[in-house]
Amino acid sequence: MRDEDVLVLEEPKLSAAERMYLPQIMTGLRTTLRHMFNLRNRDAVVREYPEQKRELRLDNYRGVHRLNRDPDGRVACVACFMCSTACPADCIHIEAAESPWPDREKYPVKFDIDELRCIYCGMCEEACPVDAIELTPHFELVGTTRAEMIFDKEKLLNIYDQTKDLKPRKNPPITDYGLTGGQDREVARPNAHTTT
């Protein structure tokens, strides 16, 4: 930035009426009174929350996480640690093990997300190469202890079961990871980001 780009503004001089303040206060009172008695505007804006809920955008609202299942009902995660690496709040804890299934190398034995640490930025969803972790539009998270708010694999899979009708998986699931010579990955994911 150059010096000549800086614009120094003088404070506007107040007129005599403005220095008396009273006319300005009257203007302000008119505004507050208008809002006070504008019932129509209030009714249009206010939602009585627990009874009336906002209509959230299902496709991109960032609520609680879920772990997707593949068509066979198995956890879709391949325990690549991309999400826990991308996580700025450091709230994803994964323990990987060798996969019992022939189509992938690893799977998570443990997959814990600390929902109290999470900042719901959605970086994990961006990072996931197999679209296994996704954020759902469900935001009413309640717990009475901290331990209760650490969601494990079962709970996250359970959220998938509850929300899969509300919000289907974004991309078709990857069924074959190139291990058994199936479809090419780029073909299976038409919306996948191309990385450089």
């Binding site: 780009d5 404070e11 809002h35 209030r42």
Partner: protein, 435 residues
Amino acid sequence: MPDTPTKTYDLLLRRRSTLIIAAVGAAVLGGGLTLVLWPWIKPLLSAQSTFSILLMVAGIGILLSAFAICTLAERKIAGFVQDRRGPNRVGFWGLFQPVADGLKFLLKEDFIPARADRPVFLLAPCIALVVSLLGFAIIPWAGEIHWPWMPAGHTVSTQVASINVGVLYLLATGSLSVYAVVLAGWASNNKYAHFGGLRATAQMLSYEVPLGLGLLCVLLACGTLRLEEIVQQQAASGVWNVFLHPLAFLLVLISTFAETNRTPFDLAEAEQELVGGFHTEYSSMKFAMFFIGEYTHMITASALMVALFFGGWAPLPFGGFLADSTAWGWALVKFGIYAGKVSLFIGFFMLIRWTIPRFRFDQLMRLAWKGLVPIGMAMVVGSGVLVALERERNVFWSLVVNVALLSAALGVARLSKQEITGRQANMPEIEVGPV
């Protein structure tokens, strides 16, 4: 996700019928008790001393319930101004919210900081509450009452105490409330609280001056310090003092905002700068006492302004209606009118809170000493001249003096280099360094 089942008591509370049943029940109970005890109540009502005691008891009850309503009204008005609905969960339309608040205050931990000055820390909220209740003694709520069983010509006054220094007493008790704030700030052993207390001292002392000057104009013209006589004069002549002394009213109104620590002069408890100011360290009922004190102070101040400028219980600003009526039925009507005017004032106080931002401390001082005090002094002189010329009850001449003073003030404001707000002439130049 599964919905939480609604509790039964919740449903009960939120129904309008619950409220109606409670109100009718209270009315029936009170009415029945009064009927049964009527022979004993009668003589108490007709002697001034016992009537004053009854008024005190009733007054404190009414005041504390008025305080409860005020807290709800404040939050409702705050909500409405911001296009919200305000509290509407506890009871129908949120009407049981004060009850819930009160319960919360009672159940909170009563905390005293370890290094606090204990006796003073405990004394401060008591001063805040008691001092603000004192002012009520001289508010003439409904003029004189003649009960049907009293001998002709005898009346009782609906005023706890009729004292000859009336307004001075109100000023004295009103300015005592600064002790509550200062002592609270000092005893808390907390920097923020201390700053709040210091600010409050300077502010309240400064604004006593224009308040006194504004009142002086009215008192000069009325020739009495007794509130009931001032109200009676206005009711009889039918000319409210606000038409005779509009500038004095403005002065008193502004000073009252400062005296009661309300926005735009709530520097003592400025949340954004001082956390909570003088009551940062207070919790539970001790905090509630400050809270009650603030609202009662506001009600007293409104009642004072209504008595001095808006004719007290006089229903209309002309005609002199109800001036000589002493029937108890009319007294009820008068009380209703008085209470209505006071609630309008309180509503105005609350509306102003959401309209004007807070002053900076130097602006506050400048407004008092360079703005209000000179105008007030000029007004006292003007008012004195009117009294000397025996024109003090004349609306035309009063308005001439007021308009002349206002234009003089405008002229001075135009000519002066110093502004109340904004950048001051004696402040250093803004230097723009290399970017």
